[in-house]
């Protein structure tokens, strides 16, 4: 068990290192630099700037300096926000993205459960049809289309919610729904399929044969057994929500990590780009690790691998 976890952890670190190195190499290979602007700077000024950010050193030395910094939690200075370093910006924005992801996940869970259960219970009924339709809808609506639609309807037409900003509880509703719509459809379908599979098992037939009420069979016996696949996707799903909220943050002007990432890319703020990429990758690695731990707790066979 411990050896298994250790190996997974090591693999995660390798992934992080590979991603950092690839991103670093790719950004350095780009033509043009972050300090190219409309007006050409005098060469002395350019040399000064490059010296300040160690851009005049050989590439390998820069790379070594960067890695050494990252290990100590220092992602270097931001090129665009002159008085802040990347670690500060991430520390400021990461909680916002996490909160948004959590809200979206909660929204998806609360609404997908009833739909999935109803769809499985009344197979081929209206709930089932709604469930399959929603499943396709969920992968078909881009965030910006849904976000724009919700803003138009609920904040411009009806005036119920704010269209942008972050801070008041009501301002979180529309972004939460926009980000949570896809996981909602995905989870509904997953719960439905998982429940349908469990309902075919022998112990369900036994429970029914014992004369248990259908509601007890469904809630106590079937549902608790069909939860495992749902629980195992929650980790990666949460990670996907934190790392996939760029567009939602952009549309609703939420000061999260994704929005900073988009501006960082536009501004060519290289340290910020690598920093955010690294944090995103770390979130995914941790989520997968959690799933591995969870699996090994639920399914003892994993330990022997």
């Amino acid at each position: 068990m411990l050896r298994f976890l250790f190996r997974r952890l090591l693999y995660g670190l390798v992934v992080l290192w590979v991603v950092t190195t690839l991103t670093f190499a790719m950004l350095r290979a780009l033509p043009g630099g972050p300090f190219d602007s409309q007006r050409r700077l005098p060469p002395e000024v350019m040399a000064n700037i490059e010296a300040k950010y160690h851009l005049d050193e050989p590439l390998l030395k820069q790379y070594g300096r960067y890695l050494a910094g990252v290990v100590q939690g220092d992602f270097g200075p931001s090129y665009k926000y002159l008085d802040r370093n990347v670690a500060d910006i991430i520390a400021d924005t990461f909680p916002t993205s996490t909160l948004l992801g959590l809200l979206a996940l909660a929204f998806a869970l609360i609404f997908s459960f009833p739909l999935g259960v109803l769809a499985a219970k009344y197979r081929d009924g209206w709930a089932d049809r709604a469930c399959s339709f929603v499943a396709t809808l969920g992968i078909s609506v881009p965030h910006f289309v849904l976000g724009a639609l919700l803003i138009w309807l609920f904040s411009l037409k009806l005036g119920w919610f704010q269209a942008a900003r972050w801070g008041r509880p009501t301002s979180a509703v529309l972004p939460m729904v926009t980000l949570g719509a896809a996981p909602f459809s995905y989870l509904s379908f997953l719960i439905r399929s998982s429940l349908l599979e469990t309902l075919r098992e022998d112990f369900i037939r036994t429970a029914r044969a014992k004369g248990l009420k259908e509601i007890a069979v469904l809630w106590k016996h079937a549902l608790s057994n069909s939860l495992i696949p749902v629980l195992t996707v929650l980790g990666p799903l949460f990670a996907a929500l934190i790392t996939g909220s760029f567009v939602v943050e952009y549309v609703f002007a939420i000061p999260g990590m994704g929005r900073f990432f988009i501006t960082a890319v536009t501004d060519r703020d290289y340290p910020l780009i690598i920093g955010v990429t690294l944090v995103y990758t770390a979130v995914l690695v941790v989520a997968n690790l959690v799933v591995d731990i969870f699996y090994s707790l639920v399914d003892p066979r994993i330990k022997t691998r």
Partner: protein, 280 residues
């Protein structure tokens, strides 16, 4: 197989409608220069931000350009990106998966570890990083999207090859001394075609969605002199900035994006249900 497939598809109105819509969008994009009511770069500086009317069926944007014309030209970008991405990704991914699954052993292990790293990263993040590298023209975006999408094909092809490899008649072919190429092409490939086709159908709308999203946040195709037309995502971005007062400008591009992606996904669903009835 094609005939069987068509017979099954004919029975579902949803699949037929989706197929018809997909064909319509493709045809509209291909024939945009012939059917568009205005020239692609044309604008009327006295008719800005107009609501739909007889002259401009879908209205005009903030520079007085006809929205219908822009959407028709935008269809070429979306369809080209969708099909192009899927085709490139299929070629890379299927070959990779074929080798990985057929050779097996340590090679397979190594190749799949590489795939795992790609597969784990958030798609949009990789899109954005790669688009920096490959540039914001249509070829660059195609490459960017294909480099993320091929992983799906590699995985599905590999797992199918692993299964097909064990089939009795493949063993038979090997026993009578058939060459590797012959076994792969004649015996394994036909077996794995169905799931690869389903993956292909699903990766087209995924690419269209990714491209329009990239363009919406201003990181997609950015080539004002392109003869191709402007991405629907860029049109939506133009409309987004004017949405408070002129919601119709974002409405039509957004609807075009949504319906096209939806139609492709319904088509993919239908194909999957027909080709793999156990899935449902």
């Amino acid at each position: 197989m094609t005939k069987q497939l068509w017979n099954e598809m004919r029975r579902s109105p949803l699949i037929l409608a989706s197929l018809a819509f997909v064909c319509l969008v493709t045809a509209a994009g291909a024939a945009a220069p012939l059917i568009a009511p205005y020239a692609p770069g044309g604008f009327e500086e006295m008719r800005l931000l107009e609501a739909p009317s007889r002259d401009h069926w879908l209205g005009t944007d903030e520079l007085g350009r006809d929205v219908l014309t822009r959407i028709l030209y935008g269809a070429r970008v979306s369809i080209a990106v969708g099909i192009g991405t899927a085709a490139i990704a299929l070629m890379i991914g299927a070959l990779y998966g074929l080798i990985s699954g057929y050779v097996g052993g340590q090679v397979d292990n190594l190749l799949m570890r590489i795939v795992d790293i790609f597969y784990g990263l958030p798609d949009l993040l990789v899109f954005i990083l790669l688009s920096l590298f490959f540039g914001r023209n249509i070829a660059g975006v195609l490459l960017t999207l294909a480099l993320v999408t091929w992983v799906r094909f590699a995985r599905i092809t590999r797992s199918q090859v692993l299964q097909a490899k064990e089939l009795v008649y493949v063993e038979g072919a090997r026993a009578i001394g058939a060459s590797h190429a012959r076994i792969l092409l004649r015996h394994i490939l036909p077996n794995i075609l169905a799931p690869v086709l389903v993956t292909l159908t699903f990766s087209i709308p995924a690419a269209i969605l990714a491209e329009s999203t990239l363009s919406f946040i201003g990181l997609g195709i950015n080539d004002p002199y392109s003869a191709w037309g402007t991405s629907w995502g860029t049109l939506a971005q133009d409309g987004w900035r004017a949405m408070r007062s002129y919601p119709h400008i974002i409405f039509f591009p957004a609807l075009a994006i949504f319906l096209t992606i939806l139609a492709f996904n319904f088509l993919g669903n239908g194909l999957r249900d027909i080709l793999d009835p156990k899935g449902r």
